[in-house]
């Protein structure tokens, strides 16, 4: 199999958890509760799928796990420490050090090559991550596409670039928002295999999905309905 080219923190078995997290918005129709006292954790090496109808709060939950949004109540714990009161700069650093993101529509920078995109999170860091970016791209099967720009890549290739990017900082958690949403089933399966392989190396993976295919690669599935999280079987 692929060689292990990144290190993950193994000291903490639970890199990230949500503790009684509630998120509510004021809207025209009054208070909308997007998340209702959600308890959730992902362990190192585990793949968890979050399913549920649209509007059920899946994206909000992923934003909470990704430190992109603040809960109204409850706490987000990063390696057991509360991350809720961190400043924007501290959260930014925590995201860079702990979390990898994979988005449904890839969100690659069109002017950058595959290597440039993968290296992007380290752009302002002193060390050169070019070699690592090339290794990661080779690992996801794009060793021959290193200097291609996104418009020269297929959807599946783009998503693999995005996965390589999410790994550049050796994250403890990979958050994937509909990772196969824009891919055909064959390509999607390849991407999911890649994600499974990443988890097997000790990364906790949370994948929000509509795709039943995803569940074949997960250890656990939870379901969100109207902001309430339940274990699904």
């Amino acid at each position: 199999m692929s060689k292990r080219i990144f290190e993950t923190s193994t000291a903490q078995e639970t890199p990230i958890e949500l503790d009684e997290v509630t998120k509510s918005y004021a809207s025209g129709m009054g208070q909308v509760i997007a998340l209702d006292s959600v308890d959730f954790h992902v362990d190192a090496g585990e793949v968890v799928a979050v399913i549920g109808p649209s509007g059920s709060g899946k994206s909000t939950m992923l934003n909470m796990l990704g430190l992109l949004d603040e809960p109204t109540e409850g706490q987000i714990l990063l390696h057991g420490d509360p991350a809720t009161g961190l400043s924007p700069a501290e959260k930014t650093t925590a995201r860079r050090e702990t979390i990898g993101f994979v988005f449904q529509d890839f969100h690659l920078i069109p002017t950058l090559t595959a290597v440039g995109n993968v290296r992007l999170p380290t752009a302002f860091l002193p060390d050169d991550a070019t070699a690592r970016a090339e290794d990661l791209l080779t690992r996801v099967g794009l060793g021959d596409r290193l200097r291609h720009t996104p418009d020269e890549l297929s959807g599946g290739q783009k998503q693999r670039v995005a996965i390589a990017r999410s790994l550049i900082n050796e994250p403890d958690v990979l958050l994937a928002d509909e990772p196969t949403g824009n891919l055909d089933s064959e390509t999607g399966a390849a991407v999911l295999q890649e994600i499974r392989a990443i988890a097997d190396e000790g990364v906790g993976v949370v994948a929000v999905t509509h795709d039943d295919l995803v569940r074949e690669y997960t250890d656990r599935t939870v379901e969100l309905v109207d902001g309430v999280l339940t274990d699904a079987t």
Binding site: T92, T93, R95, R96, P110, G116, A123, F124
Partner: protein, 380 residues
């Protein structure tokens, strides 16, 4: 690869440069505003300075002249030798005193004749220019102004009749281009003994500097006008000061107009950056999500608009300099009046303003983009 080395060293600058290259036409339009603004500042500013320098060179000698003549309200019609002595004491060490007799006369040579101003002085060299042909001490013969000489058709050695008497032409003055109250072009200079009167109708003092001119004027007034107003003292120093103030005002006005176009350029950069960041919201959200700090995003976007300013400023400044030099080569404005240190300052300041305007124009859009919560930006 060079590009990758740069990306590592100056990530914000490289990202900014790549962003500009995405929308070349739009970037060029944004920079065009700066080009026009800087061009206007550079051309108007340097031409204004050049005009001022050229005018000062032309008028510069004027400020050093003091002209003393009998006061209108006084009963005397000419200055006597005691007056001259008093004036010489006032001017001692500060300039040269040239007593002049003045009259008008018709000059003739053969068939042609012309009206001339006739000056009588023993020391014409200080006031008039004709190479070395003007004698140190003017005893005999006529020195003829360039215009008079050409209209009478006389040259050195010819005879010219002034009033009832005939004189040999000993020198022809060079054509004067500067402005001076004592005009040599239409004058004939004779020795004082050619005049029937003995007093002097005016005294011209060539001071060593503008300050000396002012001191001499004050000294002469206190010596000769203490009891009654005997002489009128005319110094162009104050007129020169006024002319200089006028030019300063004119230059300020020109630069203000040019600056307006720079401000407009800043607004267009602001506008285009707002457009750009609203298109790139999603990308900026990704940058923030993957751990790029707000200040780093801000820096990248501000560099982007500043690069537009640098590019536009360079084009505008170089274009302006070329235009001004072309104007200097095709008009009477001397190049020496253009190549003065002040103009180098104007070119650099014009360029600098262009860059600053672009930077400021990009500041708010960049701030707006970088400080937006990433969860909002990602929603696109």
């Amino acid at each position: 690869m060079l590009r990758e080395t740069l990306e590592r060293r100056l990530p914000a600058a490289v990202l900014a440069g790549q962003n500009i290259s995405r929308q070349r036409a739009r970037a060029a339009l944004a920079a065009l505003g700066i080009v026009i603004g800087v061009f206007a500042v550079v051309t108007l500013g340097t031409l204004g300075t050049a005009l001022q320098v050229a005018a000062t060179a032309e008028l510069g000698g004027l400020g050093n002249q003091v002209i003393i003549s009998p006061a209108e309200e006084a009963t005397i019609e000419s200055l006597n030798s005691r007056d001259i002595q008093a004036i010489e004491r006032a001017a001692a060490g500060r300039g040269t005193v040239i007593p002049l007799q003045t009259t008008g006369a018709t000059a003739r040579s053969g068939e042609s004749q012309t009206a001339t101003q006739v000056y009588g002085t023993t020391t014409p060299r200080t006031l008039f220019n004709a190479g070395n042909s003007i004698p140190e001490f003017h005893r005999q013969g006529a020195i003829v102004g360039a215009e008079v000489a050409s209209s009478l058709g006389v040259q050195q050695g010819s005879q010219v009749q002034v009033g009832p008497n005939s004189y040999r032409v000993i020198a022809i003055l060079e054509t004067e281009t500067g402005i001076s109250p004592i005009q040599g072009n239409s004058a004939i200079i004779l020795p004082p003994n050619a005049f029937t009167t003995s007093g002097y109708s005016q005294v011209v003092i060539k001071a060593n500097s503008g300050g000396d001119a002012a001191a001499i004027a004050t000294g002469v007034r206190s010596r000769l006008n203490a009891r009654q107003s005997r002489v009128s003292v005319f110094s162009l120093q104050s007129v020169l000061t006024q002319i200089e103030e006028f030019f300063a005002l004119l230059n300020g006005f020109l630069l203000a107009i040019a600056s307006i176009s720079l401000v407009v350029a800043g607004v267009s950069i602001f506008n285009i950056m707002l457009m750009t960041i609203s298109e790139r919201r999603g990308e900026i959200g990704v940058l923030r999500a993957v751990g790029i700090h707000r200040q780093q995003v801000l820096r990248t976007l501000v560099i982007e608009s500043t690069l537009l300013g640098i590019a536009g400023g360079l084009v505008g400044a170089v274009g302006g300099v070329i235009t001004v030099i072309a104007i200097g080569m095709n008009t009477e404005l001397p190049l020496s009046a253009i190549f003065v240190p002040m103009n180098a300052v104007i070119v650099f300041v014009g360029f600098g303003f262009g860059v600053v305007v672009a930077l400021v124009g990009g500041l708010y859009p960049a701030y707006k983009a970088a400080w937006e919560p990433p969860v909002e930006s990602l929603r696109g």
